[in-house]
């Protein structure tokens, strides 16, 4: 059975969203239940989606990890990095070198590496690189850090291409993608197996991140972002927090890069370039800064917008399909700008704000409507009531007795205009 991807996504997000807001159980139970439902749908995906969409979903999973790392660094900790792609590329090349070149270079020993080991190595190597970058980054702030990371990101593919004995130069490195383990061989195709691999990695590392971020470390991260001086005054070791943010985000990026390599089977200097790195940043802004869900949404945006925005928009009757299909780049740029304008807090932020609306109050006002109407009629009845009046009743006095009127609560529902960095959870 094959299902249209949009149908599938609407179904999975819708059902889990409904579970999230269903009036049953406590808040925590609802959140847990909705996440489990979403996970169940994602496990069902490989069996109902066609190969193309499945590969896309796999790529979303890996990018989600990368964006999660970037969000930790930039969203939670406020360090703007345009060079995140360098860590991803590093992770990808680590895997490729270990799987492709090992025999030639006799690195550790000549036996081929098991692929899962390479993922760990990639992560830790990238984390080490994060340390190397993170320490000097302490001296840089704001746009300076952005420029410096931009510089690193632009240089990396050139350096990789030039010193090619190790990295395969501009040809890159190729290897065969890992097959499913023996006990799953008959049940899963290779694409399905890779999807589950990435999904597993995503779930595990997202859980780790969630744990990390909701604890003291997460609060330290955000405190440093909001005001370094105040954070230091409260006893937070600012330098350590900032470097750790780099290290952790690099680890996530390295793992993401490793997975990206494993699912493609080929790594070359174009695998991640400066455009991709900028896309990552755009992704977390669209998805929602300082938000785990936002990172995943951003990953989906990065994959689906270039792939489908043009063809979906072309279905609108007043747009010329041919023109649109020939210039997908312009559409991507426009979509990014439009999303950023309409949802400055990202999709996750918008969803969060939606959830925080106080429907009870709005409903309460609706319920009051008949009573209010009656009161109004009563007040106006003096016009045809010719009975003698006592003092205190009449046209001048229009406050009905004994009625509760709620005053302008609606104003509080909107958040005060604040920083882009303060988003949802």
């Amino acid at each position: 059975m094959e299902m249209n991807i949009w149908l599938f996504l609407v179904l999975s997000l819708g059902v889990s969203g409904l579970v999230r807001v269903a009036p049953l159980g406590s808040e925590r139970q609802r959140i847990l239940a909705s996440l489990l439902v979403l996970l169940a749908f994602m496990c069902w995906a490989p069996f109902v989606l066609d190969n193309f969409r499945l590969i896309q979903m796999t790529r979303i999973a890996t990018l989600g990890l990368a964006l999660l790392g970037l969000n930790i660094l930039t969203g939670y900790n406020g360090q703007v990095s345009l060079g995140h792609g360098a860590f991803v590329l590093m992770g990808a090349y680590t895997v490729a070198v270990l799987l492709d070149r090992n025999e030639q270079l006799n690195l550790i020993d000549a036996t081929p590496w098991p692929f899962w080991a390479t993922i760990f190595v990639a992560g830790f190597l990238a984390a080490a690189a994060g340390l190397v970058i993170g320490v000097p980054a302490l001296r840089l702030s704001g746009p300076y850090l952005a420029i410096a990371t931009l510089a690193v990101m632009i240089s990396m593919p050139i350096i990789v291409r030039k010193y090619g004995t190790f990295t395969g130069g501009s040809q890159g490195l190729g290897f065969s993608r890992p097959p499913p383990p023996p006990f799953l061989e008959d049940l899963l195709r290779r694409e399905q197996w890779l999807y589950f691999l990435c999904l597993l990695a995503l779930v595990v590392m997202t859980f780790l991140a969630w744990n990390l971020l909701r604890g003291q470390f997460g609060r330290s991260l955000q405190a440093v972002r909001d005001s370094e001086v105040a954070a230091a005054a409260m006893g937070i070791h600012v330098a350590r927090v900032k470097v750790l943010a780099f290290v952790i985000s690099a680890f996530y990026a390295g793992v993401a890069g490793a997975l990206l390599a494993l699912i493609s089977g080929i790594v070359n200097p174009e695998t991640v370039d400066i455009v991709q790195s900028i896309n990552y940043l755009a992704g977390i802004v669209i998805g929602g800064l300082a938000s785990i869900m936002g990172s995943l949404i951003g990953a989906a945006a990065i994959v689906f917008i270039p792939s489908d925005a043009a063809s979906e928009l072309a279905k609108l009757p007043f747009l010329d399909a041919n023109m649109l299909r020939r210039a997908p780049g312009a559409i991507q740029g426009a979509v990014v700008i439009v999303v950023m304008l309409l949802m400055p807090y990202g999709v996750a932020g918008a969803a969060h704000r939606l959830l925080r609306l106080r429907p009870e109050r709005a409903l309460a006002r609706w319920r009051e409507a008949p009573a209010l109407a009656r009161g109004a009629l009563q007040r106006a009845s003096w016009a045809w009531d010719l009975r003698p009046r006592s003092a205190g009743q009449g046209p001048g006095q229009n406050r009905p007795q004994g009625e509760v009127v709620s005053h302008g609560e609606g104003g509080k529902a909107t958040d005060p205009e604040g920083d882009l960095t303060k988003g949802g959870q």
Binding site: S170, E270, N322
Partner: protein
């Protein structure tokens, strides 16, 4: 019980989403009726062929900074196929449905897109895919799936490796071949020259340089390279001059070739120049002259280059070129340029391949590959006289001949030999 409004909102959105998703389709555009006189021939089919249409796929870099350079190939292909559909009744009595995707010049994305083309759209074959990194990402999967990847639009020489990738066939003369042809020609004409090489430091330039060095037996006094991101190559040119070169082998793109000519003019240095076919002479002259085409042509005159397709400016009066212009303009092709001529050449070859498969009664994927491999001595209308396409089970390069030409004062290329040099 608290009735959350969000619950209602989400339920409403879910229903709306389901309705929209159900209405939307992911399939390819349904074929519009075209003239099919005589009806479809009965042939063996497996994928992508019905009684009314033949589906072929294509990827190109359509977004990103490189898109501006390579993008026109796609609409050129599209226009020619539409011309065949409308004026020639299609192929094998069926309409050609051309489905193209954006590879974003990335191997990962290209692989995704061909997965879509192969598994979702179920195309018969892929044609003219462009961008070496992109095609590199596609090629293993395509061969695994046994889908013909025909007439790859990159000059990398590896697409001819029929043992590794039996389902892949290259198209344009690859840069190594051009380098070799120019090297052979230099052996013929300039055996005693002191050669200085200037090449772009990427696959394109390296291939051209390596090919030349493979064949040329004379003396190479200097080699200089430049990055595609360089703003100025005067420094490299100065080095070539200081080394005493009297023949400059210029494996560069038009923007940089133009600058090389400018340097020569400014410094009153007039070596013989050989340049790659990727430099259309008139465009290069215009660039070299800084907008003054006349002045530029004076600089470019006498340069030796190679050709395999007609030049859209120099050959504008030829009937084939006029027909090309008409086709492009009538069927929504790009503004006429060398890439559009290239696109038509490729499209003509595709149509010929499909015709042969149809004549053999086998319009399956395997049949199409066999048909391609059976082509010998075929000429597209926009090819230079003397250049033909020859393919075979062990020959997966479509065009391996180039005509060395000398650029005249009016920008037209003058053939320098009776026959093109071929390295079949």
């Amino acid at each position: 019980m608290r009735l959350k409004r969000a619950w209602l909102v989400l339920a409403a959105l879910l229903s709306l989403g389901l309705v929209l998703a159900a209405c939307g389709e992911e399939g390819p555009a349904s074929p519009t009726p075209g003239a099919t006189p005589g009806g479809p021939r009965q042939v063996k089919t497996d994928f992508g062929v019905t009684d009314t249409e033949i589906k072929i796929g294509h990827t190109n870099v359509l977004s990103g900074s490189l898109a501006a350079v390579y993008q026109p190939v796609t609409p050129a292909l599209q226009a020619y196929f539409e011309y065949v559909n409308r004026e020639k009744g299609g192929v094998c009595g069926r309409r050609i449905t051309f489905i193209f995707e954006d590879s974003q010049y990335s191997p990962t994305v290209a692989r995704e897109k061909v997965t879509k083309l192969i598994e979702q759209d179920r195309v018969l074959a892929l044609v003219g895919d462009l961008g070496t990194p992109a095609v590199t990402g596609e090629v293993d999967y395509v061969n695994e799936q046994r889908v013909p990847l025909l007439y790859v639009s990159t000059g990398a020489s590896k697409w001819g490796d029929y043992q590794r990738w039996p389902w892949t066939i290259g198209f344009i003369p690859d840069y190594v071949s051009e380098g070799r042809i120019l090297g052979r020609f230099a052996n013929e004409r300039f055996p005693n020259a002191k050669v200085g090489i200037l090449y772009q430091n990427d696959d394109f330039g390296l291939d051209g340089r390596n090919g030349f060095k493979q064949e040329f037996r004379g003396q190479i006094v200097a080699e200089q390279s430049y990055e595609a991101t360089a703003t100025d190559i005067s420094s490299q040119m100065a080095n070539l001059r200081a080394a005493g070169a009297d023949l400059v082998y210029l494996y560069a793109t038009p923007a940089f070739s133009a600058r090389a000519f400018q340097y020569m003019q400014q410094n009153n240095w007039r070596p013989q120049v050989m340049m790659s076919y990727v430099n259309p002479p008139v465009l290069t002259a215009q660039l070299a002259g800084g907008g003054n085409a006349q002045a530029g042509l004076q600089l470019v005159r006498g340069t030796i280059s190679t050709n395999y397709i007609l030049d859209y400016i120099a050959d504008a009066d030829k009937p084939e070129m006029k027909e090309h212009v008409r086709i492009m303009q009538t069927y929504g092709g790009p503004p006429v340029q060398s890439l559009s001529v290239y696109g038509q050449a490729l499209a003509e070859l595709v149509v010929e391949t499909l015709k042969r498969a149809c004549d053999a009664g086998d319009l399956t994927r395997q049949g199409v590959l066999r048909a391609a491999e059976s082509i010998r001595g075929f000429r597209m209308s926009v090819l230079l006289p003397g250049i033909t396409v020859n393919l075979g089970p062990r020959d997966h390069f479509a065009i391996q001949a180039l005509m060395p030409t000398e650029i005249q004062a009016d920008g037209t290329p003058r053939p320098l030999r009776d026959q093109p040099i071929s390295i079949e």
